[in-house]
Amino acid sequence: MHSRHKILIVDDDPDFSQAVASFLEASGYDVLQAADGTEGLKVAKAERPDLILMDIMMRERTEGFFTIQEMRRTPALKDVPIFVVSSLYAQIPGFRITPEASWLAHDAFFAKPVDLTQLLEKIRQRLAETARKEVAP
């Protein structure tokens, strides 16, 4: 049996982080938290999470996107699944980055507040995919 998967939440709102972290922990995951992009990058490099939930609007409106760029430039983090969790698209109508179209991809997008059931389902799916890829490279 493998150990619990590690999920990193990068979000500058401690309340949001706390709530989602508790839920994910209760659902069987180990959760790490980081309060901004720089810290998120540092923790990700050190801990190698299995999946990252990335907020976009932190100190800057588009901070999260650039943190994703930095992560993709880091060889160890190039392929880690990243879910964007943000209310940015709700706040700027007409603006949207389709996850699939991205060159520096993120794997899914969730609007805030997050539907926890859907989030959990998507996390399970994505981690299962990674597991399959590892077994049959």
């Binding site: 800057e60 409106r61 588009t62 996107f65 650039f66 930095e70 109508p93 060159w103 520096l104």
Partner: protein, 343 residues
């Protein structure tokens, strides 16, 4: 040509969308100077920079470029060009784009260079306009405006940009952003024209290039070159920072035992003492004066003969970088016999 407008407050959103097409690099500040780097956050970008230390050529002709490796039993292994690494250079000034267009002539003209080509294909160029400072003379070198070599070009209109689309990729970038761009208004055009003409008048440094190759020819034996040569340190900084200096040296790095090794090319400079040394030990430009003279002649006359235009773009980096303050515009003025010029 398609023209659109983008309010400046949306620039960070645009830069985020750009990540679909590659890593976004832009000028960032380091210790009071500027350099092109991958961005960690949009606010690091300094689009109002005067010039970067190194020109964008470092993306296409890296200071040290491994060409291939070889190993006993394995044969030749071509270098990994990271050809799947897409980069977007956001914020190139016209002079630098002009410089890249010149490098295109050199590396894809008579001798097609696959290393340069692979990188050129994977790097997108977004230009940004600028206000000349006291070292800029790109207007004199006709490099203050480019009509090709960019995917998008942003003209600053105060609180918004006038955006010119240069290629299909640039068009895709605009389409990907959906509703961020707006149509251009007559006020925008009027503002652009006004600023464009104001910028032309803002140049403080002027260099007349019209009969310059001929003057160079006539002044081949001028004592000026000894004067400049005496000051020059042959450090090569001017070549390193020049957008169009492309001289390179090729050397093999062989492991002890000679079972494997690699070949790489590195930046070279005609100012280095061994630049004109050939097998047998003969050095055609042993003195510094002759080497300094060579560089000027290549840039302003030799290149003209070969490619039809001087390779100097007037960016002012050499003036900025020279540790002994040799100023190309002053050297040329002295050559022209202009009073009060101090080379």
């Amino acid at each position: 040509m398609k023209v659109l407008r983008l309010p400046k407050e949306r620039l960070d959103l645009f830069a985020s969308v750009l990540q679909q097409f590659g890593e976004v690099h832009a000028p960032v500040e380091q210790n009071g100077k500027y350099a092109f780097r991958a961005l960690s956050r949009w606010s690091d970008a300094r689009l109002d920079y005067p010039r970067t230390i190194l020109p964008p050529k470092k993306y296409f002709v890296p200071p040290k470029d491994t060409l291939f490796q070889y190993k006993e039993g394995l044969g030749y292994v071509p270098a990994d060009l990271a050809a799947d690494r897409r980069i977007i250079l956001f914020g190139l000034h016209s002079c630098d784009i002009y410089g890249l267009n010149i490098l295109d002539q050199v590396f894809s003209g008579k001798y097609d260079d696959p290393y340069y080509q692979a990188r050129r294909k994977n790097v997108a160029i977004i230009g940004v306009d600028c206000i000349p400072d006291e070292h800029c003379f790109c207007h004199s070198m006709r490099a203050d405006f480019v009509d090709k070599g960019f995917d998008l070009f942003f003209q600053d209109l105060g609180d918004r940009y006038l955006v010119m689309v240069g290629t299909a990729l640039g068009d895709d970038m605009v389409l990907a952003t959906g509703s961020l761009f707006e149509p251009v208004t007559p006020e925008d055009l009027a503002e652009y024209k006004q600023r464009s003409s104001a910028k032309r008048k803002a140049f403080k440094l002027h260099v007349e290039i019209r009969d310059l190759p001929e003057i160079f020819e006539l002044e081949y034996d001028s004592s000026l070159w000894k004067q400049v040569g005496d000051r020059c340190l042959s450090c090569g900084a001017c070549s390193m920072v020049c957008p169009t200096c492309y001289c390179f040296d090729v050397a093999d790095d062989v492991d002890l035992g000679a079972r494997s090794g690699s070949r790489s090319r590195t930046w070279d400079s005609c100012l280095f003492s061994t630049h004109a040394m050939v097998a047998g030990g003969e050095n055609f430009r042993e003195g510094r004066a002759s080497r300094v003279k060579f560089r000027y002649y290549h840039k302003q006359r030799g290149f003209v003969a070969e490619y039809g235009r001087p390779s100097c773009v007037g960016c002012g980096r050499c003036i900025s970088a020279c540790p002994v303050n040799i100023d190309i515009s002053q050297v040329i003025s002295q050559l022209r016999g202009i009073e009060n010029a101090t080379a």
